[in-house]
Symmetry: C2
Subunit: 141 residues, 2 copies
DNA sequence: TATTGTTATACTCTATAACTATA
DNA sequence: TATAGTTATAGAGTATAACAATA
């Protein structure tokens, strides 16, 4: 009946797969009161204590203008602490509450990733991840 | 120096790969005065003359509320024509201008897809597309 | 001069609720 | 009652421009 002319375009399949996965992850994280970007920022701070917000932005490809309200929300909820390292930049660290929440974020994310990976035949998993990295990092600016 | 704790998460790589690819496609299509969703709707109409807008929404997973302004823009630009098939639904067809533009959309999309595919080793391409389809269609509602 | 952080603003995509007209 | 189409509205992510303070 209805023909889908986009079905065999890898770019379209990539977009649909990504948005389907993001929707599931967002639902999981909303239980913790977090959005996906907030959760990823918490994980980056945990892995890099005293990182500055501009460094996080470069790592996650989030513009500085958008980092400000994001970090502000996390600080308002006392999940992170800011300590001046410079006259203009602050090092970010997790608070105790932030550390506890990040532990739950990690569990949610790992469970989510396991779900995704389980849908891909085991022998193809490594090549799949390699292909995603090739598409991710090699795009022109 | 800075550690990326998300790098090995397929879900995160999926998101980054998708948004990088979408950014490139959006830039290509903006030359034609189209957004990615508008371009995909044109292609669906071309492949399915007289399709209704609710059928397009189900195919592309776009909510009815969001189809209305999208189709309205295409009709305002006289790229498509609406003919009542029903008291409440309209069949959509490309106008001559719409057909000409869709031809250019197809070329832009094909060029874009070829670029993507070229970044993936040839022996892994089929498995990559299959994996994307598995992630796309098998997500729970 | 360049960088960090910030505010303000706008656009796109998405999501929900409410309504009408038709089936 | 269910569906098609529409309007209004809000949230989230992203983008640019502008600015102050600092390096």
């Amino acid at each position: 009946m209805v023909v889908d002319p986009l079905k065999d375009f890898p770019g379209y399949a990539l977009r649909r797969a990504s948005s389907a996965a993001m929707a599931v992850l967002a639902r999981r994280l909303s239980i913790l009161g977090l959005r996906p970007t907030e959760a990823s920022v918490l994980m980056v701070i945990q892995a890099n204590p005293n990182i500055t917000q501009s460094e996080i932005g470069r790592l996650l490809d989030i513009a500085g203008a958008n980092m400000a309200p994001l970090v502000g929300r996390l600080a308002d909820r006392e999940l992170i602490e800011r300590e001046p390292v410079d006259g203009r930049s602050h090092g970010l660290k997790l608070s105790d509450a932030g550390r506890a929440l990040t532990l739950r974020v990690k569990k949610a994310m790992t469970a989510h990733e396991d779900e995704l990976v389980s849908k891909i035949p085991a022998p193809h998993r490594a090549a799949f991840l390699a292909a995603l990295h090739a598409l991710w990092s090699a795009e022109p600016p």
